[in-house]
């Protein structure tokens, strides 16, 4: 049985790369694609995918807001962020939405499929290159 995936990324060559990576495996099936944040929310509702691969920098709504809205509507859905943004504060904010994973695009060739497998099996996954900073800040 294959898992249905929604691809959300405004860079078309990247979507093609992911689609071709997934097509090599019988586990995955691309259920839909979109380059736009608002459209991603609509497609998530309409397609009810097993997993959403979500970029952060998107037109009309950024990925973090998109994830929040999707979870509001469907708290059980699974989201894996796939972004080239490695800032810890952004990774942290992305994971705070309820998303189960965060993979850096530069690590995707190696980590994308293991991450997707982990998430559909109910575990979390964060790229090995993403590390929290050490600082003296105190936040209230």
């Amino acid at each position: 049985m294959s898992h249905r995936v929604l691809l959300v990324d405004d860079y078309e060559p990247w979507r093609r790369f992911v689609a071709s990576t997934l097509s090599a495996s019988a586990h995955w099936q691309v259920a839909g694609e979109t380059a736009d944040g608002l459209d991603a929310i609509q497609k998530a509702k309409a397609l009810r995918p097993d997993l959403i691969l979500l970029d952060i920098g998107l037109p009309s709504l950024n990925g973090i807001v998109v994830a929040r809205r999707i979870f509001e509507h469907d708290p059980g859905i699974r989201i894996l962020f796939l972004s080239e943004n490695s800032s810890w504060d952004i990774v942290e904010a992305a994971l705070r939405t309820g998303a189960q994973g965060y993979v850096l695009k530069s690590d995707a060739e190696r980590e994308l499929l293991p991450a997707m497998e982990s998430i559909v099996e109910g575990r979390q996954f964060v790229s090995s290159s993403v590390k929290p900073p050490s600082s003296k800040v105190a936040s209230a």
Partner: protein, 510 residues
């Protein structure tokens, strides 16, 4: 023979009039009559020392020939008269008979005494209580005469009173001249000048104020001066004045005033407390000048600065997007391909080369991402101002090794982008300045929403700085101020050397 009882009453009457009267001429005549009575003299004169200190001016006289009076209108210290000699010697001079007086012999003064029918004369110098020469009181007799010491006893009391009168006249004259000079200066000054009394009400405005406002003098008195102030500036300017007034502090403020032609002009008003000679508070004095042109130039400059800052911000955001959305996406794809190629490489050498290329591209991607983030922080867009500010605090803390405490309260979830960018940049600049220059171990940052506004404060307890010098030489503070002006906000900075710094940026939310 002098009637001492009558003379004493006369002196008493003069004393009373000296206290109560301000017109001197009739008093001088009364003094001359008293002098004549006290000394049983036939004529008398009173003179005042001229400002050159070397001659006497005739103030009033009794029973001189008019020609003699004209001749003695001014008497030099070296003249042949008793008064001229008394001035030179600063001592009383008595001549019992002018016909046998050596120093008078052959002088014009002797001729004038004869013309006025005078044979004997005495001149007594009038001095202030501190001993300063002020004038001369003289009495004259038609027959040879030598007054006794007893005659001079009451006369000297009169001389004392006369000296007081002259001193008062001189003081009044000095004040009048001073006031005249002041009036001349204030009325020809190119600025409006005003004075207020201890009740804060206006008591004086100069001609420039009347010309500027086109209103009559009476209109300025009390609180009338404030009637011409622009309604938007009225309360603020009154509060500034009243606050300074109550604490007796100098103040400076700008406000708009309606000119005679109905146009509102910006005035820069400066006031200081004034005090009487005994130290008692007397009110305020100040001046205001038309700074409209300067204000317009400043505003034009400020608008240009704001536009430049906004244009720069837009350009940075554009460049950051280009780097992120295009270059970085392509690089990310390239890294995945290199990674795939490395994995599929048939030789160890080929695999190693491709892995190295992959690492280089990953490193390049990170560098470009760093550059993009410095140009325009994506966190502001993705996280909102509160989380972005917290992240910035963590970042500065980690980079600069200083503890940064961040607190937030009631920050709206969504803010206009211009305001978020403004507050973020102010925080960035303030934290960098504090971390680099204050030597503070801890910086406190507080971001608080207040319904109709949002306020950011950055406080450290470090070295502080000279605000004037920093404003003059650094673009940082100016740029912060301009950023806030662009969103109708306000920046206030409280700092003193060794007393830390408090920066407060407040932006209205409408």
């Amino acid at each position: 023979m002098t009637d001492h009882g009558a003379a004493a009453r006369m002196l008493q009457a003069i004393s009373t009039r000296l206290i109560s009267e301000t017109t001197c001429d009739s008093l001088y005549l009364q003094i001359l009559d008293a002098a004549s009575t006290l000394m049983s003299a036939d004529a008398a004169s009173v003179q005042m020392l001229d400002t050159d200190q070397e001659s006497l001016l005739l103030l009033n006289w009794r029973n001189f020939h008019p020609s003699s009076a004209a001749y003695w209108q001014r008497v030099a210290a070296g003249a042949g008269s008793t008064c001229g000699r008394a001035l030179r010697e600063n001592n009383r001079v008595v001549v019992s008979d002018i016909e046998s007086c050596e120093f008078m012999a052959g002088t014009q003064d002797q001729q004038e005494y004869r013309r006025s029918g005078i044979r004997a004369v005495q001149s007594t110098p009038l001095c202030s209580r501190s001993g300063k020469p002020l004038g001369m009181l003289s009495t004259h007799w038609t027959n040879p005469h030598m007054p006794t010491e007893e005659d001079f006893r009451l006369f000297d009391v009169l001389a004392r009173q006369t000296a007081d009168l002259i001193e008062r006249t001189l003081a009044a004259e000095a004040i009048r001249e001073s006031e005249e000079r002041l009036r001349l200066i204030t009325n020809t000054a190119p600025v409006t000048i005003w004075m207020t009394g201890i009740d804060k009400g206006c008591t004086y405005v100069n001609q420039a104020w009347l010309d500027f406002t086109g209103r009559p003098l009476e209109a300025a008195f009390g609180s009338g001066w404030a009637d011409g102030i622009h309604p938007e500036d009225g309360k603020r300017s009154w509060d500034t004045y009243a606050k300074a007034f109550d604490s007796r502090e100098p103040f400076q403020m700008d406000y708009r005033v309606r000119r005679h032609d109905g146009a509102y002009r910006w005035m820069r008003d400066t006031g200081v407390p004034r005090y009487h000679s005994d130290g008692a508070f007397a009110g305020y004095i100040g001046s205001a000048m038309d700074v409209t042109e300067r204000k317009l130039a400043e505003e034009a400059l400020s608008t240009i600065n704001q536009r430049l800052i906004e244009a720069q911000e837009e350009e940075r955001a554009h460049l950051a997007r280009e780097l992120h959305d295009d270059i970085n996406q392509r690089l990310a794809l390239l890294t995945t391909r290199l990674s795939a190629l490395a994995r599929a490489a048939s030789t160890t050498e080929g695999k190693r080369t491709l892995e190295e290329a992959h690492e280089e591209v990953v490193s390049l991607t990170k560098d470009i991402q760093g550059l993009s983030h410095r140009l325009h922080p994506p966190r502001l867009e993705y996280l909102g101002i509160a989380d972005a500010a917290a992240a910035l605090c963590r970042e500065i803390s980690s980079q600069q090794g200083v503890e940064v405490c961040f607190q937030r309260e009631s920050v709206p979830e969504e803010l206009p982008k211009r305001i978020s960018v403004c507050l973020y940049r102010v925080l960035q600049e303030s934290l960098q300045n504090a971390a680099k220059h204050s030597s503070a171990e801890q910086i406190e940052v507080f971001l608080r929403g207040g319904g109709d506004h949002i306020e950011l404060t950055i406080r450290d307890f470090g070295a502080g700085f000279d605000l004037e010098a920093a404003t003059a030489c650094g673009l940082g503070l100016t740029s912060m101020k301009e950023r806030l002006r662009a969103v109708d906000g306000r920046l206030t900075i409280e700092t003193k050397p060794q007393r830390g710094t408090l920066i407060r940026a407040r932006v209205p939310l409408s």
